[in-house]
């Protein structure tokens, strides 16, 4: 069995470092969330990059000390190469490269989305392929067919907003603070999800998603109701809005399952915390795996997990590794 892996993840607004044992067990999983973006109503790339520079060093130190290992005990160093905010990614990439180079450790470059998939392989009882994986967060929404541990086949993705982004924007329209997912879910609990019919974007082809329409519909509904009425019916609006987003996710997931003939499902990304989504997916009758929430949201343990099944960079690649931004895929 190989030794522990140190992983660094800085693709968005969480400064993460983790140590994963060679057996796939999490020895530490440090997530420093940059609460600072709340006041801007969304993640500001330049501020995220500045925060990473401050937060990553202590996160790495904490990950090592919690795991009770030193750099001398490590087998490899893994880092998220992309996709994500380029300035944010580069902080993690630079630091990981430097640690690996100066310690003579192999470096593994990990695709962030492969990391979300690999969150399912963590622990002594990993969820084994094949399965269909739904990843939904503030930054991405996609469906993948997972046949092995080191890759996935993209079945569909969002054509505009991510599901978590739709939650955040809807929450904002309803006067809720950022990040909007949890607040919107809480408000929806007191509402009637049948009271408004928001579109589910069924006309989008294949297993792709679109959340621009539902967002606009909420905006119009609030406007048509007028300020007072909209205020009085916030819970109904939230419940109907949440239902439309979850319907869109579950319908596409069902379609992917039917087309693949598989009956195994995993979910990841921050939206996996949504109670309605969880109960609807569990009710599908498929074998369902949902990693604990600290492994669903952005974290470095999932990056280390992906690295277990990936090749090391060549020494030359390890020195010259660059990050790649959102909208690109390797």
């Amino acid at each position: 069995m190989s030794g522990p892996i140190l992983a660094i993840e800085s693709s968005c607004d969480d400064s993460c470092a983790a140590v994963l044992g060679g057996d796939g067990v999490v020895l530490s999983n440090i997530i420093s969330s940059q609460g600072i973006h709340n006041r801007y109503g969304g993640v500001v790339p330049e501020i995220a990059a500045r925060q990473h520079l401050q937060l990553l060093t202590p996160a790495i130190e904490a990950a090592l000390s919690q795991a009770q290992v030193t750099l001398a005990d490590l087998d490899r160093v893994a880092v998220t190469q992309g996709p994500g905010l380029i300035g944010a990614l580069l902080v993690g990439v630079a630091q990981a490269k430097a640690i690996a180079a100066a310690r003579g450790l192999p470096l593994v470059a990990v695709d962030h989305l492969q990391g979300h998939v690999a969150a399912n392989f963590i622990g002594l009882e990993p969820f084994e392929p094949p399965f269909i994986c739904l990843i939904a967060s503030g930054g991405h929404t996609l469906l993948a067919r997972v046949e092995d541990h080191s890759s996935y086949l993209l079945l569909g993705e969002t054509l505009d907003d991510a599901a978590g982004e739709a939650f955040d924007k809807g929450a904002r329209m309803l006067g809720l603070p950022f990040p909007g997912g949890p607040a919107l879910q809480a408000l929806a609990a007191d509402g009637d999800d049948e009271s408004f019919q928001f579109p589910v974007a069924r006309n989008v082809e294949g297993c792709n998603f679109s959340f621009a329409g539902v967002k606009t519909s909420l905006l119009y509904a609030i406007r048509d109701l007028g300020e007072e009425e909209a205020e009085a019916r916030r819970a109904d609006l939230a419940a109907s809005y949440q239902k439309a987003i979850v319907d869109a996710l579950v319908e596409r997931l069902t379609k992917a399952l039917d087309a693949s003939g598989l009956d195994r499902v995993a979910i990841g990304g921050g939206v996996a915390a949504n109670g309605l989504l969880r109960s609807r997916i569990t009710a599908l009758g498929a074998v369902c795996h949902i990693p604990e929430i600290s492994l669903c949201t952005d974290n470095a343990a999932m990056i280390a997990s992906a690295a277990r099944y990936l090749d090391d960079c060549s020494p030359q690649q390890a020195l010259t590794l660059d990050a790649y931004p959102s909208g690109t895929r390797r």
């Binding site: 330049e46 501020i47 990553l56 300035g87 990439v93 630079a94 490269k97 100066a102 020195l319 010259t320």
Partner: protein, 237 residues
């Protein structure tokens, strides 16, 4: 006491500049300088140049006693790559980290060559601004690093002083307004306009080590979003 092996680098400008000195003698100087219309290559080049410079010096990572890093002001992403690299190296090999002002490194050779002049280091800060700092003939920092527009640049440097020299890509860019105020700017191809590896090594050797956790860029400018938010709040919006 002169430290043994110093590895120093700067990523504040489009260039990636790396040097190694051993017992005060600069033994390797390397630089990657993109053309005017090319993007900086800090991420791809910094570590390779460091390894190359160390190997030219016959040294390895474990030999490094001091890490000097240019902390700007300059390009935000470049500065972060330099500092994150320093932090990683510091964690991995335990060397002391020293924050070096990129403007001070830029000014140093001009100050040595022109001991009777006031010297300004001027970097192109984009958005029609320059990052500037200025030292008088006695070596005192008389204008601390700041961002100024071309209309205020000459006055900020001190145009009424007898002998003033300005160096850096910003000095070349704003040559017109500087020369109008009798501030001398060397020819565009002068090496004085580049941050030199030797200066970085020298300043790193003599500087005070800093707590690597506190090692941060001298951004000078706040993030745009911070300014926008502050304006909105102060307008009661």
């Amino acid at each position: 006491m002169t430290p043994g092996v110093v590895l120093a680098f700067d990523t504040a400008t489009a260039a990636t500049v790396v040097g190694v000195s051993v017992n005060g003698e600069v033994v390797s100087q390397l630089a990657d300088r993109p053309e005017v219309d090319e993007r900086p290559r800090h991420a791809e080049r910094l570590l390779s140049l460091c390894e190359q410079a160390l190997s030219e010096a016959g040294k390895g990572w474990a030999d490094v006693e001091r890490l000097g890093v240019g902390v700007g002001p300059g390009t935000f992403t470049g500065l972060r790559i330099g500092i994150a690299t320093t932090r990683g190296l510091q964690q991995a090999c335990g060397a002391q980290a020293i924050a070096v002002s990129s403007l001070e490194a830029l000014a140093l050779p001009a100050r040595i060559a022109n001991p009777d002049s006031r010297v300004a280091a001027v970097l192109d800060a984009r958005r029609s601004e320059a990052f500037v700092a200025c030292w008088d003939a006695n070596g005192a920092l008389v204008v601390p690093p700041q961002a100024v527009g071309p209309e205020r640049l000459a006055a900020a440097i001190g145009a009424d002083e007898p002998e003033v020299l300005a160096v850096g890509d910003g000095a070349v860019l704003f040559r017109g307004s500087l020369e109008e105020a009798s501030i001398a700017v060397p020819n565009a191809d002068s090496p004085l306009h580049h941050i030199s590896a030797a200066s970085l090594c020298q300043l790193a050797a003599s500087g005070e080590p800093s707590d690597p956790r506190r090692l941060m860029p001298d951004y000078v400018r706040r993030a745009d979003a911070e300014i926008t938010l502050e304006n909105r709040l102060s307008n009661g919006g």
